[in-house]
Protein backbone atom coordinates (compact mmCIF):
# COMPACT_ATOMS: atom_id res chain seq x y z
CA UNK A 1 0.00 0.00 0.00
CA UNK A 2 1.19 3.53 -0.74
CA UNK A 3 2.12 5.42 2.39
CA UNK A 4 0.05 8.45 3.21
CA UNK A 5 2.80 11.05 2.76
CA UNK A 6 3.40 10.06 -0.85
CA UNK A 7 -0.30 9.90 -1.48
CA UNK A 8 -0.68 13.41 -0.12
CA UNK A 9 2.09 14.65 -2.35
CA UNK A 10 0.52 13.08 -5.42
CA UNK A 11 -2.85 14.54 -4.51
CA UNK A 12 -1.35 17.99 -3.92
CA UNK A 13 0.41 18.03 -7.27
CA UNK A 14 -2.71 16.98 -9.14
CA UNK A 15 -4.75 19.53 -7.22
CA UNK A 16 -2.27 22.28 -8.03
CA UNK A 17 -2.42 21.40 -11.71
CA UNK A 18 -6.20 21.62 -11.71
CA UNK A 19 -6.33 24.82 -9.68
CA UNK A 20 -3.82 26.69 -11.79
CA UNK A 21 -5.26 25.64 -15.13
CA UNK A 22 -8.80 26.62 -14.18
CA UNK A 23 -7.61 29.88 -12.66
CA UNK A 24 -5.63 30.71 -15.78
CA UNK A 25 -8.62 29.99 -17.98
CA UNK A 26 -10.91 32.08 -15.83
CA UNK A 27 -8.49 35.01 -15.76
CA UNK A 28 -7.99 34.77 -19.51
CA UNK A 29 -11.66 34.74 -20.36
CA UNK A 30 -12.62 37.38 -17.83
CA UNK A 31 -9.88 39.76 -18.89
CA UNK A 32 -10.51 39.24 -22.60
CA UNK A 33 -14.15 40.10 -22.08
CA UNK A 34 -13.37 43.30 -20.22
CA UNK A 35 -10.63 44.43 -22.55
CA UNK A 36 -12.57 43.72 -25.72
CA UNK A 37 -15.52 45.77 -24.47
CA UNK A 38 -13.12 48.54 -23.51
CA UNK A 39 -11.65 48.45 -27.01
CA UNK A 40 -15.11 48.71 -28.52
CA UNK A 41 -15.80 51.70 -26.31
CA UNK A 42 -12.60 53.42 -27.36
CA UNK A 43 -13.33 52.69 -31.01
CA UNK A 44 -16.70 54.31 -30.65
CA UNK A 45 -15.49 57.36 -28.75
CA UNK A 46 -11.77 58.00 -29.08
CA UNK A 47 -12.06 61.11 -26.91
CA UNK A 48 -12.94 59.03 -23.89
CA UNK A 49 -9.83 56.90 -24.22
CA UNK A 50 -8.27 57.88 -20.89
CA UNK A 51 -11.41 57.36 -18.87
CA UNK A 52 -12.14 54.05 -20.53
CA UNK A 53 -8.57 52.91 -20.07
CA UNK A 54 -8.65 53.76 -16.38
CA UNK A 55 -11.92 51.97 -15.88
CA UNK A 56 -10.56 48.99 -17.79
CA UNK A 57 -7.53 48.78 -15.51
CA UNK A 58 -9.76 48.88 -12.46
CA UNK A 59 -11.94 46.20 -14.00
CA UNK A 60 -8.95 43.99 -14.76
CA UNK A 61 -7.72 44.39 -11.20
CA UNK A 62 -11.09 43.34 -9.86
CA UNK A 63 -11.47 40.42 -12.25
CA UNK A 64 -8.02 39.04 -11.51
CA UNK A 65 -8.51 38.99 -7.76
CA UNK A 66 -10.17 35.58 -7.56
CA UNK A 67 -7.78 33.73 -9.93
CA UNK A 68 -4.89 35.17 -7.99
CA UNK A 69 -6.34 33.95 -4.72
CA UNK A 70 -6.61 30.53 -6.37
CA UNK A 71 -2.98 30.84 -7.39
CA UNK A 72 -1.98 31.65 -3.81
CA UNK A 73 -3.79 28.52 -2.63
CA UNK A 74 -1.93 26.49 -5.24
CA UNK A 75 1.42 27.97 -4.23
CA UNK A 76 0.73 27.22 -0.60
CA UNK A 77 -0.09 23.61 -1.47
CA UNK A 78 3.13 23.36 -3.39
CA UNK A 79 5.64 25.08 -1.14
CA UNK A 80 4.18 25.33 2.32
CA UNK A 81 1.86 22.39 2.40
CA UNK A 82 0.24 22.24 5.83
CA UNK A 83 -0.44 18.53 5.52
CA UNK A 84 3.16 17.55 4.91
CA UNK A 85 5.20 18.53 7.93
Amino acid sequence: MVESAILLKIASVIAVGLIVSVAALAAGFGNSNAVSRALEGIARQPEAKNSIFTTMLIGVGLIEATPIIALVVALLLLFANPFLQ
Partner: protein
Protein backbone atom coordinates in the same frame (compact mmCIF):
# COMPACT_ATOMS: atom_id res chain seq x y z
CA UNK B 1 14.42 21.58 0.15
CA UNK B 2 14.26 24.95 -1.50
CA UNK B 3 13.48 27.83 0.79
CA UNK B 4 11.21 30.33 -0.87
CA UNK B 5 12.21 33.75 0.36
CA UNK B 6 8.68 35.02 0.02
CA UNK B 7 7.31 32.32 2.26
CA UNK B 8 9.71 32.32 5.17
CA UNK B 9 9.24 35.08 7.69
CA UNK B 10 11.64 35.46 10.56
CA UNK B 11 9.51 35.19 13.66
CA UNK B 12 10.33 37.33 16.61
CA UNK B 13 8.94 38.53 19.86
CA UNK B 14 8.59 42.08 21.04
CA UNK B 15 6.97 42.83 24.39
CA UNK B 16 5.44 39.40 24.38
CA UNK B 17 3.74 39.77 20.96
CA UNK B 18 4.69 37.57 18.04
CA UNK B 19 5.86 39.52 14.99
CA UNK B 20 7.26 38.86 11.59
CA UNK B 21 10.46 40.74 12.12
CA UNK B 22 11.45 41.14 8.50
CA UNK B 23 8.04 42.52 7.55
CA UNK B 24 8.26 44.87 10.52
CA UNK B 25 11.70 46.06 9.45
CA UNK B 26 10.75 46.58 5.81
CA UNK B 27 7.60 48.48 6.76
CA UNK B 28 9.68 50.86 8.78
CA UNK B 29 12.13 51.20 5.91
CA UNK B 30 9.26 52.31 3.67
CA UNK B 31 7.89 54.68 6.30
CA UNK B 32 11.27 56.28 6.93
CA UNK B 33 11.85 56.59 3.20
CA UNK B 34 8.54 58.40 2.72
CA UNK B 35 9.14 60.69 5.69
CA UNK B 36 12.64 61.58 4.54
CA UNK B 37 11.52 62.32 0.98
CA UNK B 38 8.67 64.49 2.24
CA UNK B 39 10.95 66.35 4.61
CA UNK B 40 13.55 66.95 1.92
CA UNK B 41 10.92 68.32 -0.44
CA UNK B 42 9.26 70.67 2.01
CA UNK B 43 12.35 72.04 3.67
CA UNK B 44 12.37 75.25 1.69
CA UNK B 45 8.89 75.75 0.30
CA UNK B 46 8.97 78.05 -2.67
CA UNK B 47 6.02 79.53 -4.49
CA UNK B 48 7.47 78.32 -7.77
CA UNK B 49 8.55 74.81 -7.02
CA UNK B 50 11.73 73.28 -8.32
CA UNK B 51 13.10 69.78 -8.25
CA UNK B 52 11.84 67.39 -5.60
CA UNK B 53 9.13 69.75 -4.43
CA UNK B 54 7.59 69.92 -7.91
CA UNK B 55 7.64 66.14 -8.23
CA UNK B 56 5.76 65.75 -4.97
CA UNK B 57 3.36 68.52 -5.93
CA UNK B 58 2.51 66.64 -9.11
CA UNK B 59 1.76 63.54 -7.10
CA UNK B 60 -0.37 65.43 -4.60
CA UNK B 61 -2.30 67.17 -7.39
CA UNK B 62 -2.93 63.86 -9.09
CA UNK B 63 -4.27 62.34 -5.89
CA UNK B 64 -6.43 65.34 -5.15
CA UNK B 65 -7.99 65.19 -8.60
CA UNK B 66 -8.75 61.53 -8.16
CA UNK B 67 -10.28 62.19 -4.78
CA UNK B 68 -12.42 65.03 -6.07
CA UNK B 69 -13.71 62.93 -8.95
CA UNK B 70 -14.55 59.94 -6.86
CA UNK B 71 -15.76 61.28 -3.55
CA UNK B 72 -16.51 64.87 -4.23
CA UNK B 73 -16.20 67.84 -1.91
CA UNK B 74 -17.58 65.96 1.09
CA UNK B 75 -14.60 63.69 1.22
CA UNK B 76 -11.78 66.18 1.17
CA UNK B 77 -10.91 65.44 4.75
CA UNK B 78 -10.25 61.84 3.81
CA UNK B 79 -7.40 63.02 1.63
CA UNK B 80 -4.49 62.49 4.04
CA UNK B 81 -5.62 58.98 4.88
CA UNK B 82 -6.20 57.95 1.30
CA UNK B 83 -3.02 59.54 0.00
CA UNK B 84 -0.91 57.93 2.70
CA UNK B 85 -2.52 54.60 1.96
CA UNK B 86 -1.61 54.89 -1.70
CA UNK B 87 1.96 56.01 -1.12
CA UNK B 88 2.63 53.38 1.50
CA UNK B 89 1.21 50.58 -0.63
CA UNK B 90 2.99 51.76 -3.75
CA UNK B 91 6.41 51.88 -2.15
CA UNK B 92 5.78 48.72 -0.16
CA UNK B 93 5.06 46.88 -3.38
CA UNK B 94 8.18 48.24 -5.03
CA UNK B 95 10.65 47.82 -2.18
CA UNK B 96 10.63 44.06 -2.55
CA UNK B 97 12.02 44.42 -6.07
CA UNK B 98 14.95 46.59 -5.11
CA UNK B 99 16.99 43.56 -4.11
CA UNK B 100 15.20 40.26 -4.70
CA UNK B 101 16.23 37.84 -1.97
CA UNK B 102 17.24 40.50 0.51
CA UNK B 103 14.44 43.03 0.61
CA UNK B 104 10.91 41.80 1.03
CA UNK B 105 7.73 43.76 0.41
CA UNK B 106 5.70 44.35 3.53
CA UNK B 107 2.61 43.76 1.41
CA UNK B 108 3.78 40.22 0.80
CA UNK B 109 2.63 39.52 4.33
CA UNK B 110 -1.07 38.88 4.71
CA UNK B 111 -0.94 40.54 8.12
CA UNK B 112 0.02 43.86 6.54
CA UNK B 113 -2.67 43.78 3.89
CA UNK B 114 -5.30 42.70 6.38
CA UNK B 115 -4.23 45.57 8.61
CA UNK B 116 -4.68 48.00 5.73
CA UNK B 117 -8.08 46.49 4.99
CA UNK B 118 -9.08 46.99 8.62
CA UNK B 119 -8.09 50.64 8.24
CA UNK B 120 -10.31 50.97 5.19
CA UNK B 121 -13.09 49.17 7.03
CA UNK B 122 -12.91 51.56 9.95
CA UNK B 123 -12.76 54.57 7.67
CA UNK B 124 -15.87 53.37 5.87
CA UNK B 125 -17.73 53.29 9.16
CA UNK B 126 -16.26 56.59 10.33
CA UNK B 127 -17.08 58.56 7.20
CA UNK B 128 -20.45 56.90 6.85
CA UNK B 129 -21.51 57.90 10.32
CA UNK B 130 -19.88 61.30 10.07
CA UNK B 131 -21.60 62.32 6.85
CA UNK B 132 -24.91 60.59 7.18
CA UNK B 133 -25.40 60.43 10.90
CA UNK B 134 -25.58 57.24 12.90
CA UNK B 135 -29.29 56.53 12.46
CA UNK B 136 -29.38 57.16 8.74
CA UNK B 137 -26.26 55.12 8.19
CA UNK B 138 -27.62 52.14 10.08
CA UNK B 139 -30.98 52.44 8.36
CA UNK B 140 -29.17 52.27 5.06
CA UNK B 141 -28.52 48.61 5.72
CA UNK B 142 -32.22 47.92 5.48
CA UNK B 143 -32.80 50.35 2.65
CA UNK B 144 -34.38 48.73 -0.41
CA UNK B 145 -36.12 46.14 1.70
CA UNK B 146 -35.82 44.79 5.21
CA UNK B 147 -34.68 41.43 3.82
CA UNK B 148 -31.66 43.06 2.22
CA UNK B 149 -29.92 43.32 5.56
CA UNK B 150 -27.88 40.07 5.26
CA UNK B 151 -26.80 41.04 1.76
CA UNK B 152 -25.66 44.46 2.89
CA UNK B 153 -23.89 42.95 5.87
CA UNK B 154 -22.01 40.39 3.80
CA UNK B 155 -21.15 43.04 1.24
CA UNK B 156 -19.88 45.28 4.00
CA UNK B 157 -17.45 42.70 5.32
CA UNK B 158 -16.43 41.14 2.04
CA UNK B 159 -15.25 44.36 0.42
CA UNK B 160 -12.25 45.10 2.66
CA UNK B 161 -11.37 41.39 2.82
CA UNK B 162 -11.16 41.14 -0.94
CA UNK B 163 -9.00 44.26 -0.91
CA UNK B 164 -6.59 42.53 1.44
CA UNK B 165 -6.44 39.27 -0.44
CA UNK B 166 -6.17 40.90 -3.84
CA UNK B 167 -3.17 42.97 -2.81
CA UNK B 168 -1.55 40.10 -0.94
CA UNK B 169 -2.11 37.61 -3.73
CA UNK B 170 -0.74 39.83 -6.46
CA UNK B 171 2.42 40.87 -4.64
CA UNK B 172 3.08 37.48 -3.07
CA UNK B 173 2.64 35.69 -6.39
CA UNK B 174 5.03 38.16 -7.98
CA UNK B 175 7.66 37.54 -5.33
CA UNK B 176 7.37 33.76 -5.64
CA UNK B 177 7.58 34.17 -9.41
CA UNK B 178 10.84 36.06 -9.10
CA UNK B 179 12.24 33.45 -6.73
CA UNK B 180 11.31 30.59 -9.05
CA UNK B 181 12.80 32.38 -12.03
CA UNK B 182 15.93 32.88 -10.01
CA UNK B 183 16.14 29.16 -9.38
CA UNK B 184 15.52 28.20 -12.98
CA UNK B 185 16.83 30.84 -15.34
CA UNK B 186 19.47 32.94 -13.64
CA UNK B 187 19.99 35.69 -16.21
CA UNK B 188 16.35 36.20 -17.00
CA UNK B 189 15.03 37.51 -13.69
CA UNK B 190 16.17 41.09 -13.89
CA UNK B 191 14.16 41.66 -17.01
CA UNK B 192 10.98 39.67 -16.86
CA UNK B 193 10.24 39.27 -13.17
CA UNK B 194 11.13 42.79 -12.17
CA UNK B 195 9.21 44.48 -14.97
CA UNK B 196 6.17 42.40 -14.14
CA UNK B 197 6.66 43.20 -10.46
CA UNK B 198 6.84 46.93 -11.05
CA UNK B 199 3.80 46.88 -13.34
CA UNK B 200 1.72 44.80 -10.96
CA UNK B 201 2.86 46.80 -7.94
CA UNK B 202 1.84 50.12 -9.44
CA UNK B 203 -1.48 48.85 -10.73
CA UNK B 204 -2.39 47.14 -7.47
CA UNK B 205 -1.57 50.25 -5.46
CA UNK B 206 -3.70 52.36 -7.80
CA UNK B 207 -6.49 49.79 -7.66
CA UNK B 208 -6.44 49.69 -3.86
CA UNK B 209 -6.64 53.46 -3.85
CA UNK B 210 -9.59 53.61 -6.27
CA UNK B 211 -11.50 50.90 -4.47
CA UNK B 212 -10.90 52.44 -1.05
CA UNK B 213 -12.18 55.76 -2.37
CA UNK B 214 -15.18 54.08 -3.95
CA UNK B 215 -16.05 52.27 -0.71
CA UNK B 216 -15.72 55.45 1.33
CA UNK B 217 -17.86 57.30 -1.20
CA UNK B 218 -20.52 54.62 -1.11
CA UNK B 219 -20.50 54.70 2.67
CA UNK B 220 -21.20 58.41 2.52
CA UNK B 221 -24.12 58.12 0.13
CA UNK B 222 -27.60 56.99 1.03
CA UNK B 223 -27.85 53.24 1.39
CA UNK B 224 -27.60 52.67 -2.32
CA UNK B 225 -25.85 49.71 -3.93
CA UNK B 226 -22.15 50.28 -4.57
CA UNK B 227 -22.42 50.12 -8.34
CA UNK B 228 -24.62 53.21 -8.44
CA UNK B 229 -22.97 55.04 -5.59
CA UNK B 230 -19.54 55.48 -7.04
CA UNK B 231 -19.90 57.12 -10.42
CA UNK B 232 -16.97 56.48 -12.69
CA UNK B 233 -15.19 59.72 -13.54
CA UNK B 234 -16.97 61.06 -16.61
CA UNK B 235 -14.61 62.83 -18.98
CA UNK B 236 -15.53 66.20 -20.36
CA UNK B 237 -16.10 65.08 -23.91
CA UNK B 238 -15.70 67.65 -26.63
CA UNK B 239 -18.70 67.93 -28.88
CA UNK B 240 -18.34 65.71 -31.90
CA UNK B 241 -18.22 67.72 -35.07
CA UNK B 242 -19.13 65.74 -38.13
Amino acid sequence: MNKIHALTFTQGEIFGFQFHLDTFLMSWVVIIFLVVISWLATRDLKLQPRGLQSILETVVEFLQNLLRENIGPKGQEAFPFVATLFLFILFSNLVGLVWPGVTKSPTEDLNVTLGLAVLVFMSMIYYGIKVQGLKKYLLGFFKPNFLFFPIHLIDFFVKPITLAFRLYGNIFAGAVFITILDLLFKPVIPVVGLILGVFVGVIQAYLFLMLAMAYIASAMEEGVETEEAHPEPTPALPQRTE
